[in-house]
Amino acid sequence: MTTTPRAVRRNSRPAAPPDPARPLLPASEQIRLLDPAGAPLPVHPDYPAPPVEVLVELYRRMVLGRRFDLQATALTKQGRLAVYPSARGQEACQVGAILALRDDDWVFPTYRESMALTARGIDPVEVLTLLRGDWHCGYDPAVRRTAPQCTPLATQCVHAAGLAHGEAYQGRDTVALAFLGDGATSEGDFHEGVNFAAVFKAPVVYFVQNNQYAISVPLSRQTAAPSLAYKGVGYGVPSEQVDGNDPVAVLAVLNRAVAHARAGHGPFLVEAHTYRMEPHTNADDAARYRDADEVASWQDRDPVVRLETYLRDRGALDDTTVARVAAQAEEYAADLRERMHDKPTVDPLTLFDHVYAEPTPQLVEQRAQVRAELAADQEGAG
């Protein structure tokens, strides 16, 4: 029915110019520098392996992190924590991210990043304050350059963009790293945050730990994309996907991402394919939505074992060091156990201290009322 004029048929279309998207797209397969058993793969031209002493330190903190995580789960069973979202299995991501940063860089963690926070050197008791329930944030975020653990999903993506832009605006070369999960990428705030960072060329690394589930919801319900890393190009943001259980690759890719951001090239998006070995939190029943086989299959890619194998094979780790690290981890856990033993006391009147810099007259009134109630209670009790 359509008739095409002859002149047209004769012409041929000009060759397309190189696709501007190419440099932004991730590799079509996960970057991997170790095989699942921990044997090294061929050198990757874009991702040189980090120095071995850094990898040993990565190993050390991963072991400590895992021990901390187990301890926190145990504390939950003993009723010392209200709730605990374990990150067991994600040690490479959580610790790798911290090692890719300077101490004066900023971290934007979620509720799941307890291991990242301990790897950052934050007192584990302060890390657990939120989950123990004595206050919302236990550490000093300004001093630790670590935002309070974020619960409203993906909202931190925008904060990271703002912080990074603010730092750059003030002439500082700070990088911000925002952690998020696979589920959180579906939220509008992820979109807005990455886009703001891209438009303002803010030095942010968006680090998606794709642990395959958002509570019970599998990745296939979050996205139809070939992989989450393909979201970057839509913002003009270079992206990469990495085997999140390969500690060497995670650190290598994040090193590049951080360097990119620090050099003023704007944000970088990294997706790490990993797995949450435990339920979403201790309150979750993972048997309802995934089977033991799946969990077991990831056990074979354990990031701690993998790194240990690699370092041993390279002669960078021996029984003595492994034992020393294990002992350190035990000590760390024992200290935590000890210090978490007693329920902390919190003065109810502090509820009024930080709503505003100065309490409003209404809060002054309410404070007086609560004070009177407490006094009456004590009298009643006394």
């Binding site: 509008g188 919801v217 979050q222 509820l351 409003t360």
Partner: protein, 334 residues
């Protein structure tokens, strides 16, 4: 009659509604195979198929906006916001679309959507998991706002909500999910727009809703020891609001305390107090007082008991109802 939890009553209401009406679809985060973090949708996907009860991507504006579209296609979406503060990302969709669709289109398109929200505190939840967000919705014309305090109401009000031709924000008091009562389902209680006297009394009226109702009832119980005979009214549906039942009670008792968990300032309690004094001015022997959450962000678990209205705090308010006061002399002179 069997003993049944509110959670089970809600779950049964959803199942019965799906059975009765093919158009009902249930979706949200983790509501499918997991059955919801509070198990309110437990078994629905298995029973009705994963096309009628399904998980969505993790995005609340998406969930609510998707419901708007589904409603436009003729379905009856029932969606879950996983926790109160996680309804906030959907606020624009709720306030600018769900609430207004009928009005914008003169009734040509409607949004018979139920937005279920586990809300309020008392369960030791971490921040952002315990907000009482009813005032935001109650202040938004076009929404109905409902919150059950009993197991039978949980079932019946949810059925009514799903049947309702208008959008309903259905607020489920988390701390009552596992409270149980002897209940025979399918129970049908009073319709929307009717408050219910849960405890008869003569000396003062306690007006409460949702999680505050058990507190008010406990206070009424405790007050008996102090010689006060308190009436307790359960608001049930904040919008539409039942002025008649509440005003009748206050006209009878002459005194009124409103109790809710949400921070007091510009809360629903203010509306109730304002309405009561407008309608019952000459019957009031004392100002209408409010016992509400403090005007602070919801506290960490270890401090929530200080924040929440307690029996003691309610009794303190009752004690302040000027039992001995003389009226203003200008009154007497008038």
């Amino acid at each position: 009659m069997a003993s049944m939890t509110m959670a089970k009553a809600l779950n049964t209401a959803l199942a019965d509604a799906m059975l009765d009406d093919d158009r009902v679809v249930v979706f949200g985060e983790d509501v499918g195979q997991l059955g919801g973090v509070f198990r309110i949708t437990d078994g629905l996907a298995a029973r009705f198929g994963d096309k009628r009860c399904f998980d969505t991507p993790l995005a609340e504006a998406g969930i609510v906006g998707f419901a708007v579209g589904l409603a436009m296609s003729g379905l009856r979406p029932v969606v879950e916001m996983q926790f109160d503060a996680f309804g906030y990302p959907a606020f624009e969709q709720i306030a600018s679309h769900v609430a207004k669709l009928r009005n914008r289109t003169r009734g040509a398109l409607t949004a018979p959507i139920v937005i279920r929200i586990p809300y309020a505190g008392g369960i030791g939840g971490v921040e952002h998991h315990c907000d009482s967000s009813e005032a935001y919705y109650a202040h938004t014309p076009g929404l109905k706002v409902v919150t059950p305090a009993t197991v039978a109401d949980a079932y019946s009000l949810l059925r009514s909500a799903i049947d309702d031709p208008d959008p309903v924000v259905f607020l489920e008091p988390k701390k009552l999910y596992f409270a149980s009562a002897e209940t025979q389902l399918p129970a049908r209680t009073e319709p929307f727009g009717r408050a219910v006297v849960r405890h008869q009394g003569t000396d003062a009226t306690l007006v409460a809703y949702g999680p505050a109702v058990p507190v008010a009832l406990a206070a009424a119980e405790a007050a008996q020891a102090e010689g006060w005979n308190l009436e307790v009214v359960d608001v049930r549906t904040i919008v539409p609001f039942d002025d008649d039942t509440i005003a009748a009670s206050v006209r009878k008792t002459g005194r009124c305390v409103v109790v809710h968990e949400a921070q007091g300032f510009a809360g629903v309690g203010a509306e109730i107090a304002a309405r009561v004094q407008e309608r019952c001015f000459h019957s009031l022997h004392a100002p209408v007082l409010r016992v509400a959450g403090l005007d602070i962000p919801y506290p960490a678990p270890m401090l929530e008991h200080t924040h929440l209205p307690s029996v003691d705090r309610v009794l303190d308010a009752v004690a302040r109802l000027q039992w001995d006061d003389q009226p203003d002399e200008r009154w007497v002179a008038a």
